[in-house]
């Protein structure tokens, strides 16, 4: 079922821009935030809310910018792979510290670390260009240089392919013993430890996976926009990812993508009459989903509200 949803989504996203070319860029950015939201959703499965995942989004984006500047690498796939590796490593380092904490402390510490990185990116003017950010040139595709529009046309399909692949991988992960243990962390962590499962190991691997997903999203956004800025790590961006994940529903990997696309559609619809009050629209939508659609738009098995019955 999730695979079918993914495929339908992918087909929709693939076909529309053929008719309306400027939608390509919008869709690429939308899917990029979908990746980051998917990363957040992985952790939400364990009941952990991170208001700091914009950190890895920014790490992925800056990894691309630095790699281009330092080594002159322009190959798209090399850049994306490098961004995933770098953000995975960042996830490992930060995660090793984070998995000691739960609930509010987890949320707040993620926020704090992302704000440290945000401040550093803004402050290290000589290295990162400060708040001006860094440029990202149009990458090459397996050796051939394309002009921006042609590149975006191809890039969109690359990104769709990645999102289907990531969706399937995350689905497999959720069904693996590690993934099942992750969901069990929320329900009863101590019992899990009595079963001989290393909770920290389970959480750390989930954290690294979520960091890699967010990093990939950031790399895609950085390449699509052609510019990376410290604001990519700002806490409201993290909040946006959580929001996308919850709007879409966190039960399956398609949820965050649905959330991202839903938000973008909503934004397009709202731009006519509520461009100035966009946050208000999103805030209300989020409240409605939380109170009346607890399982998110995706709608299957909401983890967040399960516990209510248990209490």
């Amino acid at each position: 079922m999730p695979i079918v949803v993914l495929a339908v989504l992918a087909a929709l996203v693939a076909l529309l821009p053929a008719a309306v070319p400027w939608l390509r860029f919008v869709f690429i950015i939308t899917i990029a935030s979908g990746f980051a939201a998917l990363g957040v959703a992985v952790l939400l499965r364990a009941g952990l809310i991170s208001i700091g995942h914009a950190l890895f989004y920014a790490v992925g984006a800056y990894a691309v910018a630095f790699l281009m500047r330092a080594t002159g690498t322009t190959d798209l796939f090399l850049l994306l792979a490098a961004a995933v590796v770098v953000s995975g490593l960042a996830g490992l380092v930060v995660g090793a510290f984070m998995v000691r904490y739960r609930a509010i402390f987890f949320a707040m510490l993620n926020l704090a670390v992302s704000m440290v990185v945000f401040s550093l990116l803004s402050k290290l003017y000589g290295l990162t260009g400060g708040s001006d950010g860094m440029r990202v040139a149009t990458p090459t595709l397996v050796g051939s240089a394309l002009d921006r529009e042609a590149f975006n046309a191809v890039f969109l399909y690359v990104v769709i392919g990645l999102f289907v692949a990531a969706g399937i991988l995350v689905q497999l992960y959720f069904r693996s013993p590690m993934g099942e243990a992750l969901a069990a962390v929320e329900t009863n962590e101590v019992r899990l430890e009595y079963l001989g499962v290393s909770v920290r190991g389970v959480l750390l691997s989930a954290y690294v996976l979520s960091a890699m997903l967010a990093g990939l999203g950031g790399a895609i956004a950085g390449i699509a926009i052609g510019h990376v800025v410290p604001e990519m790590a700002y806490w409201t961006e993290s909040g946006h990812f959580v929001l996308v994940a919850v709007l879409g529903g966190i039960a399956g990997p398609a949820g965050p993508f649905i959330g991202a696309i839903f938000l973008e559609v909503l934004r397009t619809l709202a731009s006519g009459f509520a461009a100035e009050t966009w946050n208000l629209v999103v805030g209300v939508a989020l409240l409605l989903v939380i109170f009346f659609l607890p399982e998110g738009l995706y709608g299957i098995g909401a983890k967040l509200f399960r516990r209510r019955g248990a209490q």
Partner: protein, 299 residues
């Protein structure tokens, strides 16, 4: 030597006072409701907007500028009286007992809504009204002129810490709050109306946030972005002090304020990172903050 150190001390305390007012309401709300209120920064900003608007009206109506002083507290009280009960009764009470992540999301949604409401009501430009600053004049300390208003803020911060402590320890309302914090269910069984305690505590938290914004507005003004900036600082300070600890927040504000001033004097490039670095350093040593205690893990 002392002469050279005095400015450091005054600047440190002045900074700490501003930081304390950003954070204290957040800590108070957390200590009673156990909710991490992301919309706290919005209350701070709305308090600033309200007080600037009221002061601007007072000045333009030709009333005595001294009236802008009580206006700081009055505007905060109005904001708290309207928003406190509305937000607590309208939204937060539905989330009691639910996962923290859900509570954080609800307050995040409120934060988004308040951000746009502020723009609709108060516009998008930066506003200020510095009559209170001009009323107090300046004093020379250690060879440097300071705004007396800065010194007034330091005194007020101390006053608020003491007042909150007295409120908690010696008044009926304070004792009820302490009881509810200790055990909501037993309190309820004993006949305490926990709903009213929650509502009152939240409203007090909103008042402190709005008051903080109001006090800062004469020197730093208010503009879109004030709320989001305030909340991160508040989080950092509350976490350093230990969530829910009033004295902890005061000590944390002092530490962050002084370290920030040292940074500006001796290593300005680190100034922006100071609150977070202090937070990480403290939490590495004491994971639940300076005054915090480990909560029992559920089985």
């Amino acid at each position: 030597m002392l002469q050279a150190l005095m400015p450091l001390l005054v600047d440190g305390l002045a900074n700490a006072a501003l930081i304390f007012f950003v954070a204290v309401g957040l800590s108070l709300v957390f200590s009673v409701l156990r909710i991490l209120n992301v919309a706290h920064g919005s209350f701070y900003a709305i308090g600033a907007y309200a007080s600037v608007s009221l002061s601007l009206w007072i000045v333009s109506a030709g009333l005595s500028p001294w009236l802008t002083l009580p206006a700081l507290a009055v505007s905060a009280a109005i904001v708290a009286a309207i928003l406190g009960p509305a937000v607590e009764r309208g939204f937060l009470r539905w989330t009691y007992g639910r996962p923290e992540s859900l509570q954080i999301l609800v307050t995040f949604a409120l934060f988004l809504i308040f951000e746009d409401l502020q723009k609709l009501v108060f516009g998008v430009q930066s506003l200020y009204q510095d009559a209170p600053v001009q009323l107090f004049g300046t004093s020379e300390i250690g060879g440097i002129l300071y705004l007396n208003y800065q010194l007034v803020l330091i005194a007020l911060a101390v006053l608020v810490v003491v007042a909150l402590r007295l409120l908690m320890s010696y008044t009926r309302f304070g004792k009820l709050m302490v009881a509810v914090v200790a055990d909501p269910e037993v309190s309820q069984a004993l006949g305490i109306d926990t709903r009213r305690v929650y509502m009152a505590a939240f409203t007090l938290g909103v008042f402190l946030a709005a008051f903080g914004g109001a006090l800062a507005s004469p020197t730093v003004g208010v503009a879109p972005g004030t709320g989001p900036e305030a909340i991160v600082l508040a989080f950092a300070v509350a976490a350093i002090g230990g969530l829910g600890q009033i004295e902890g927040a005061a000590l944390a504000a002092l530490v962050v304020g002084v370290v920030r001033v040292l940074a500006i004097y001796f290593a300005p490039e680190f100034e922006a990172v100071v609150p977070y670095l202090v937070m990480l350093a403290v939490l590495l040593v004491r994971p639940y903050g300076l005054f915090g205690s480990v909560r029992v893990r559920r089985i």
